[in-house]
């Protein structure tokens, strides 16, 4: 019997009032894969992430995280999920440590375990010495790193990052991408990385290409290139967008 996928999205649709945002979207993520969700602005990436995190509920279809339905088994599904949203979600007036402690309490973690996990993850991302600083004083790159630390504290099995490198300088982008790829490789974490920047796609990645709320391509980078008869993923992406406009 095959393994239950990390994420199974089955024919979901969603609209804001009468404006459709996602139409009959289906795909699944295998465990331990790094998948890039590629799409232009307004393609539906953030809406999809909002549905997976149960901020919204799909008007049709279902979403399962490690076999647990997000709508009907939300506790089991959400405790396996770590998220870094596109929008900054840290409390700017609290310190790094206070923000992280708050998050651990939302996952029911005890103070000893929380302190240990916070120390471990801050150390891994090289920001342990900033834990007592107020978030307001941190740079954009550091805030993103704190958000990644936070998303990992409860040891999720699936992690989603929504445009995590937008507005960051090259060095910060590089640090974040390398760290996340390392997590995927060394810890077997399943990763969904939403972006509109094609240069963030690596040859070994899986890709999902979203356009106007529809999934227009999926598979490995090489499969997408082969299917479009192009030379590289950038050209394949441009061709797919042209065809579907």
């Amino acid at each position: 019997m095959s393994e239950v996928p990390a994420l199974h999205v089955d024919e979901i649709s969603f609209s804001y009032g009468k404006q459709p945002a996602l139409k009959d979207l289906s795909f699944h993520l295998e465990r331990g894969n790094f998948t890039v969700l590629l799409g232009q602005n307004s393609a539906g990436k953030t809406t999809l992430i909002s549905l997976i995190t149960r901020l919204y509920s799909p008007h049709a279809g279902s979403i399962r995280i490690y076999g647990y339905d997000v709508r009907f088994q939300s506790a089991e599904a959400l405790k396996r999920l770590g998220v870094v949203f596109q929008q900054r979600t840290l409390d700017m007036d609290l310190t790094v440590n206070q923000n992280l402690m708050y998050f651990t309490s939302l996952h029911g973690m005890g103070p000893d375990q929380a302190k240990q996990r916070i120390a471990q993850e801050l150390e891994r991302l090289g920001i342990a010495e900033r834990r007592s600083e107020k978030v307001r004083k941190l740079s954009g790159g550091l805030i993103r790193r704190v958000e990644i630390v936070r998303a990992l504290l409860h040891r999720p099995q699936l992690m989603m990052l929504d445009e995590p490198t937008v507005g960051l300088d090259l060095a910060s982008r590089q640090t974040i991408i390398e760290h996340v790829r390392k997590l995927c490789k060394e810890e077997g974490l399943t990763l969904l990385w939403a972006t509109h920047m094609i240069d963030e796609v690596a040859p070994s990645d899986q890709v999902l290409i979203l356009h106007n709320g529809k999934l227009i391509a999926s598979g490995t980078v090489q499969e997408v290139i082969d299917r479009t008869g192009t030379e590289n993923i950038r050209k394949a992406y441009e061709k797919l967008i042209d065809i579907n406009n």
């Binding site: 804001y16 149960r54 901020l55 959400l78 402690m101 309490s105 939302l106 029911g108």
Partner: protein
């Protein structure tokens, strides 16, 4: 998720709200200055104009300052409830609301915990107000201060739930000024906070009818009786029902499948 998970989550939410409150000292003083201005200036000025006859729970004539104190405690809670609402809208715009809503614990529990944190803060503010009022000769029997705690908890929960429901309907922070004009002021002025119901009835039957249905009137009366160690059972029932209705509406408003939140793009 076991009971211990729920308790840790509850504790974490309370801690976060208290931390935020401690960092917003202006909010604390603003919450106190408002009722104190009414007590020191409004009540002093109107003492001789607005006579208050003996009405339960008072057993004798009372000074106007004494009469309006429960109303001013209600005012603290009303503004605190709306402050909760404002902070929810702010959190939603700033994104930090998402951190709360993606917790694996049930959404009703998360929202109720956040409400409880707001109520706790409003009770602290109320007792600081009572301490200052005590120097202004507004005293209650010692037992009253103890009975007041559950009364303030219930009325605070009711007003907080109303605020929470309003926050689920409001799209942007800018729309919040409307809440002042259409919720806070009408609720406060069409209640028994500033004058007894019999006095309102003398002036306008319509206003009297509105005041008797106004949940804020019953929150004030619940507080008024509790401050003298008594329970107004009708107000207790009325406030409990109103609390259940507002809380249900708020939870519905934040339900991703049915509520208003799902219709607000970008939240």
């Amino acid at each position: 998720m076991s009971l211990i998970h729920y308790l840790r989550c509850f504790e974490g939410i309370i801690q976060r709200e208290v931390l935020r409150f401690l960092q917003q000292q202006g909010r604390f003083f603003a919450a106190l200055v408002r009722p104190l201005v009414w007590l020191f200036i409004f009540a002093a000025g109107f003492r001789s104009i607005l006579g208050v006859s003996i009405v339960p729970p008072y057993e004798t004539y009372v000074q106007y300052e004494v009469y309006i104190t429960p109303g001013l405690l209600g005012m603290i809670q009303l503004f605190n409830g709306m402050q909760t609402s404002l902070s929810m809208v702010y959190d939603r715009e700033m994104g930090s609301m998402k951190t709360l809503l993606i917790s694996p614990l049930p959404r009703w529990f998360l929202l109720t915990s956040k409400l409880c944190a707001g109520v706790l803060i409003s009770i602290v503010q109320s007792f600081v107000y009572l301490l200052i009022a005590w120097f202004w000769d507004v005293e209650a029997p010692l037992s009253g201060y103890f009975v007041l705690i559950p009364a303030l908890s219930l009325s605070g929960l009711m007003l907080g739930s109303l605020g929470l429901f309003i926050s689920s309907v409001i799209k942007q922070l800018e729309n919040f000024a409307g809440v002042m004009n259409f919720v806070i002021f009408p609720m406060f002025f069409t209640s028994s906070a500033l004058y007894p119901l019999w006095r309102i009835k003398e002036s306008s039957i319509l206003l009297y009818n509105i005041a008797t249905y106004n949940p804020f009137t019953h929150a004030v009366e619940l507080i008024r009786f509790a401050l003298y160690g008594q329970i107004n059972y009708f107000s207790l029932t009325y406030v409990s029902i109103a609390c259940a209705v507002f809380l249900s509406l708020a939870i519905w408003g934040y339900d991703p499948t049915r509520g208003t939140l799902a219709r607000l793009k970008g939240n």
